[in-house]
């Protein structure tokens, strides 16, 4: 089962996923990218039936891009969330997609936002969220440890890494992406196709005490 975690702070949203593609007891591959870049400031992470996830998220990505090309307007995260929800809701009563998603984005006048969207087309704005088996552990952990004052990006990363050792260990193979006001920062997707690759995630590890302020 996929694991997807996302945390929002004052000026960033951070999203991390595992990279395993498994079917039953067989691991098909260990470099699967489960976080899609919708545009320069939006990420769509997904978990669920792999075929449905790919088909649906690519459909959303291309339509968001098409809208931008046609109108010259870039949709904000809220708009993309509602568009995606509507597509999923219409499909639900015809040929449902089994795709759960987390939509993260940064908008000029809104700031960072994070939306939870499940395969039944339940859309909800979140401060933090998780999908898959990870959510059973992560939601309760973040309930306790997530703070609005977790304002610094490094704090977010340290929260993520220090609270979830599983993520850290997976991370040697995993990908983790951050939405910044101006750019994407890809953390150590050593085998990812993404271009920018800062040294290593370990260099971003900061003491938990940074969060205590």
């Amino acid at each position: 089962m996929d694991s997807l975690i996302a945390i929002s702070g004052r000026d960033f949203v951070l999203m991390a996923s595992d990279v395993t593609s498994a079917r039953s007891i067989v691991v098909m591959k260990e470099d699967m990218d489960k976080i899609m870049e919708l545009d320069e400031h939006k990420l769509l992470g997904f978990a669920g039936e792999p075929g449905d996830c790919t088909a649906f998220t690519e459909y959303i990505q291309k339509n968001v891009h098409l809208f931008a090309l046609r109108s010259g307007i870039t949709l904000d995260t809220h708009a993309v969330g509602n568009f995606t929800r509507n597509e999923l809701a219409v499909a639900l009563r015809k040929r449902p997609y089994n795709a759960n998603m987390l939509l993260a984005g940064y908008d000029e006048h809104v700031g960072p936002s994070l939306y939870y969207l499940d395969y039944l087309a339940t859309l909800h704005k979140m401060d933090f969220s998780a999908l898959g088996y990870a959510s059973f552990f992560v939601l309760s952990t973040l309930d306790r440890h997530w703070k609005k004052k977790c304002v610094v990006l490094a704090c977010g990363i340290s929260t993520l890494l220090s609270r979830f050792p599983a993520v850290t260990t997976q991370h040697s193979e995993g990908s983790s992406v951050i939405v910044f006001p101006g750019q994407f920062l890809t953390l150590c997707p050593c085998r990812s196709s993404r271009g920018c690759c800062p040294p290593c995630v370990s260099s971003f590890l900061v003491p938990v005490s940074w969060c205590a302020a």
């Binding site: 929800r85 809701a89 639900l92 009563r93 939870y116 499940d118 039944l120 087309a121 339940t122 859309l123 909800h124 979140m126 969220s129 959510s135 059973f136 939601l139």
Partner: protein, 204 residues
């Protein structure tokens, strides 16, 4: 488990003397795991008309969007504000349109009629209307809510008494339901305006 109980949640509305109040819990869950504690399921339709929706949250959102759209068209076509009775009929027929593939949501309508008297109405997911002059309930703890409301309700309460009675009725019922809770929002509708109050219930 019924799909109506998949996300959890409840709504209750109560009438007083020339005032009406509608309240809901704030939990959004996926079966027994809680996803969010700030979920709103009572929506403003006009200044003195509120719609509460319980059931599958996906359909709650769909219906909220649909009724906003229909009311905007109504306002443009008719050039006036919709009456609660008319809106109830609109909701009922919208739900019955989907008789054989229904929206899995049960609405509660609370508002003041043009003459200032309260209007309360609840429906099932097919749009069968149940108009009441005391209180209406809906959601996963509807049975408990009937009990608490019947116990606490008095005729002709003023807005403050109504808020207290409705709040206590809902909170007492919530505590016996593990897929509702995480706080309560109460809207008190009077001719002068609407007051919104948030209550902390048992936050577990």
């Amino acid at each position: 488990m019924s799909i109506l109980e998949y996300n959890g949640g409840c709504v209750v509305a109560m009438a007083g003397k020339n005032c009406v109040a509608i309240a809901s819990d704030k939990r959004l869950g996926v079966q027994l795991s809680t996803i969010a504690m700030d979920c709103n399921r009572v929506f403003r339709m006009t200044d003195s008309l509120y719609l509460g929706l319980t059931g599958l949250h996906s359909d709650v959102t769909t219906l909220h969007n649909l009724f906003n759209y229909k009311l905007n068209l109504y306002a443009m076509r008719e050039g006036r504000v919709i009456k609660p009775t008319t809106f109830a009929s609109l909701v009922s027929s919208t739900l019955y349109e989907k008789r054989f593939g229904p929206y899995f949501a049960e609405p509660v309508i609370a508002g003041l009629q043009p003459d200032g008297t309260p209007f309360l109405c609840a429906m099932d997911l097919l749009g069968a209307m149940a108009v009441a002059d005391d209180f209406v309930v809906s959601g996963t703890c509807a049975e408990s809510l009937f009990g608490t409301c019947e116990t606490f309700y008095r005729k002709d309460m003023n807005p403050d008494e109504l808020f207290e009675t409705l709040g206590q009725s809902l909170m007492a019922a919530l505590d016996r339901d593990c897929i509702s809770g995480w706080g309560v929002d109460v809207q008190i509708i009077t001719k002068e305006g609407v007051t919104t109050k948030s209550l902390k219930a048992r936050m577990d």
